[in-house]
């Protein structure tokens, strides 16, 4: 069991998400940066889709009540066990009464803490992920509080060796201006050609409204192609007849402050959407902080599919590396 001594800003239980309920308005939730989340689980030998903790901006302080193996991945930070700095991107042995704490984040926004066996919370609609808006899943449907005691499950499939860090080339890599690959479309016909071009050349600033539901961006005002609004849409030029929003789609309410819709976002509504962030770059979005800069880059579907393959390949390399390092060494 794990006792929460300090919860951080928002620490939630997450897995790969609640898949297949989008049509009744249930967003997938799940780890925002699935790359780091997946590696976290691999490091401690868990079966895929085992629940981990996702901490935003400030890591929690956790006391382990039993000895176990953990890993820290995601945002660049200095995790400490009993005050002593430990490395990220490797399996770490902890003993009963050891305390894990965190310094300030250096780069990135979300830390993943995987525990051997996984966090044990009830499965709700196929997932252990927390969806705070409706209190579905996770630990009592909410983010962790001081004094919570988490149970640990036994969803283990591999032996692991501690203190072996995966190669740096397989860590997350952070840039100063985040380039987010996007496939234009959906309702982009509503935006004027000039505004459409400007959207993809502007350096956007992430506003303080950036969370698991979505990120809002400040930059330029976008203009809509004039039209007589179709019946049912509503009178604002940015209004469309209410439709579904793909995960990662970017809506432009009133032409100002575009909003990228992420894991816990609304699943539909009536604002024109300009395009959709490709699935692999949603991981990158999850590591962007307020006030950082983002540029959206146009890519084709084929490029998006290649990016998918690349990230799978990277995860495969991590698993191969870990296999080689289980039984060898000292």
């Amino acid at each position: 069991m794990i006792k929460v001594r300090k919860p951080g800003i928002e620490t939630t239980v997450q897995d790969l998400g609640r898949i297949g309920y989008y049509s009744i308005g249930v967003p997938p939730s799940g780890a925002m940066d699935k790359y780091s989340y997946n590696i976290g689980n691999m490091l401690v030998g868990n079966v895929p889709n085992t629940a981990s903790l996702e901490a935003t901006y400030i890591g929690p302080e956790l006391e382990f009540l039993d000895s176990t193996i953990i890993s820290i991945t995601g945002a660049e930070c200095i995790p400490k066990i009993n005050g002593q700095p430990v490395s990220m991107w490797q399996a770490l042995a902890v003993k009963a009464s050891d305390v894990l704490s965190f310094g300030l984040l250096k780069k990135g926004a979300r830390i993943y803490i995987a525990v051997r066996g996984g966090i044990d919370v009830p499965i709700k609609m196929g997932s252990r992920s927390t969806y705070i808006t409706c209190g579905i899943g996770g630990f009592e449907g909410r983010s962790l509080k001081k004094g919570d005691v988490l149970k640990v499950s036994n969803m283990v499939e591999n032996k692991v060796k501690t203190e072996i860090e995966i190669p740096e080339t397989l860590h997350l890599d952070f840039t100063d201006i985040h380039t987010i690959r996007t496939i234009p479309g959906l309702c982009n016909y509503r935006i004027t050609r000039a505004s459409h071009d400007n959207f993809f050349s502007t350096e956007w600033t992430v506003t303080p409204d950036a969370n698991r539901m979505g990120y809002r961006f400040r930059g330029i005002k976008l203009d809509f192609v004039p039209r007589e609004q179709p019946f049912g849409a509503g009178s604002d030029p940015s209004n469309v007849t209410d439709l579904g929003y793909p995960i990662g789609s970017i809506q432009i309410p009133a032409g100002i402050e575009p909003i990228a819709l992420l894991n816990d976002a609304v699943t539909g509504g009536g604002y024109a959407t300009i395009g959709t962030i490709i699935s692999t770059d949603l991981n990158k979005m999850g590591q962007i902080k307020s006030n950082e800069k983002v540029k959206f880059q146009i890519v084709t579907l084929e490029q998006a599919l290649i990016a998918r393959k690349e990230i799978k390949e990277k995860l495969f390399r991590v698993s191969e590396f870990l296999k080689e390092n289980v039984y060898t060494g000292v």
Binding site: I19, G20, Y21, Y22, S23, I24, G25, V26, T133, C134, G135, I136, G141, T182, I183, G185, L186, C187, P230, F231, G232, A233, G234, S235, D236, N239, V240, T241, D242, L243, G244, P246, I247, G248, S249, P253, A254, V266, T267, G268, G269, G270, T276, I277, I278, S279, L301, A304, L305, R308
Partner: protein, 297 residues
């Protein structure tokens, strides 16, 4: 990205979604076409389909591109669409549900008054504003219109279980209101909203941009599935449900809330079968059929 000669737009929503817009404007024809296409696709049981989300005049498919290429899916959808021989006669079997609503209630009024800044009509309530711009003389006339014709649940989404519904009445008689200029950050749970030509009920407290008209007495979402109407699903409404609103007073509202608390409230509902042709040829007749089915049969 392809636009068909029929005017239907097929679009990639990133690498995991296909978005299909059947019509830019809302129409029952577009709604039914979407229903037929999505139901046909569901029956085909293709590998890699994750979610089929039918909406008002569009639909969206989530898929796993490692299992099915989106272009293959688009060709499948185009084939299905080409083979539809009109939607008029398709018989839909669904549920007819009475929805008791307290219009002009103190909770939504309190909430909407907090967001008068930037509202289209800061000196009126949303109900007064909707009444005026739709050409009704009094709130009572507006409410009477709202409760005289049934609605069809055309889409679920936004948050879990939120129904979007569209009134089954001549286009000239359709209520239309703009969405808020700046969305609210608070809406009380069970509030009845209206935006564009759609009504909605907010299942939980939260943000929202529709004009607020009243509050529904029973729950529409029950995460823990304690209430009798939620045994099968935590979400009450389903696409194609026919809703008949009934205006209630505060006394009945409180009485229903009490029954919800005790876990004994059950929606008044029955089965109904209908076709697009039947509705569009005679809206009055369909409204009468609904009332008969609900209260006389």
């Amino acid at each position: 990205m392809k636009t068909q000669s029929s005017g239907i737009r097929y679009e990639y929503g990133g690498d995991e979604f296909i978005f299909v817009e059947l019509s830019e404007e809302m129409s029952l024809d577009a709604l039914f076409k979407g229903l037929v296409i999505t139901q046909t696709l569901k029956k085909r049981g293709l590998t890699g389909i994750i979610d089929i989300c039918s909406a008002n005049a569009s639909f969206m498919i989530r898929f796993d591109p490692d299992l099915i290429h989106p272009d293959e899916l688009i060709s499948e959808l185009i084939t299905i669409e080409k083979n539809i021989e009109g939607t008029d006669h398709i018989q839909i079997n669904s549920r007819l549900i009475e929805v008791p609503v307290l219009f002009d209630d103190p909770w939504t009024k309190e909430a909407l008054m907090r967001f008068r800044k930037n509202h289209q009509d800061p000196n009126a309530t949303d109900l007064e504003y909707a009444t005026r711009i739709n050409g009704f003389k009094t709130k009572e006339e507006f409410i009477n219109h709202f409760t005289s014709y049934p609605f069809i649940v055309s889409m679920l989404g936004f948050v879990p279980g939120l129904p979007f519904y569209f009134q089954l009445v001549d286009k000239e008689k359709q209520i239309e209101v703009p969405k808020y200029v700046t969305p609210r950050t608070f809406t009380p749970a069970r509030a009845v909203g209206f935006g564009g030509a759609f009504g909605s009920i907010y299942p939980v407290d939260g943000a929202g941009g529709y004009q607020l008209l009243g509050i529904v007495a029973p729950e529409i979402l029950d995460i823990k599935q304690r209430l009798p109407s939620f045994e099968d699903s935590m979400v009450f409404f389903r696409q194609n449900d026919i809703m008949q609103f009934r205006a209630i007073n505060m006394e009945e509202y409180e009485e229903i809330r009490e029954r919800v608390k005790r876990g004994t409230y059950q929606y008044k509902m029955t089965e109904i079968s209908y076709s697009l042709k039947e509705i569009m040829e005679d809206y009055e007749g369909f409204a009468n059929k609904v009332i008969r089915r609900l209260y006389n049969d």
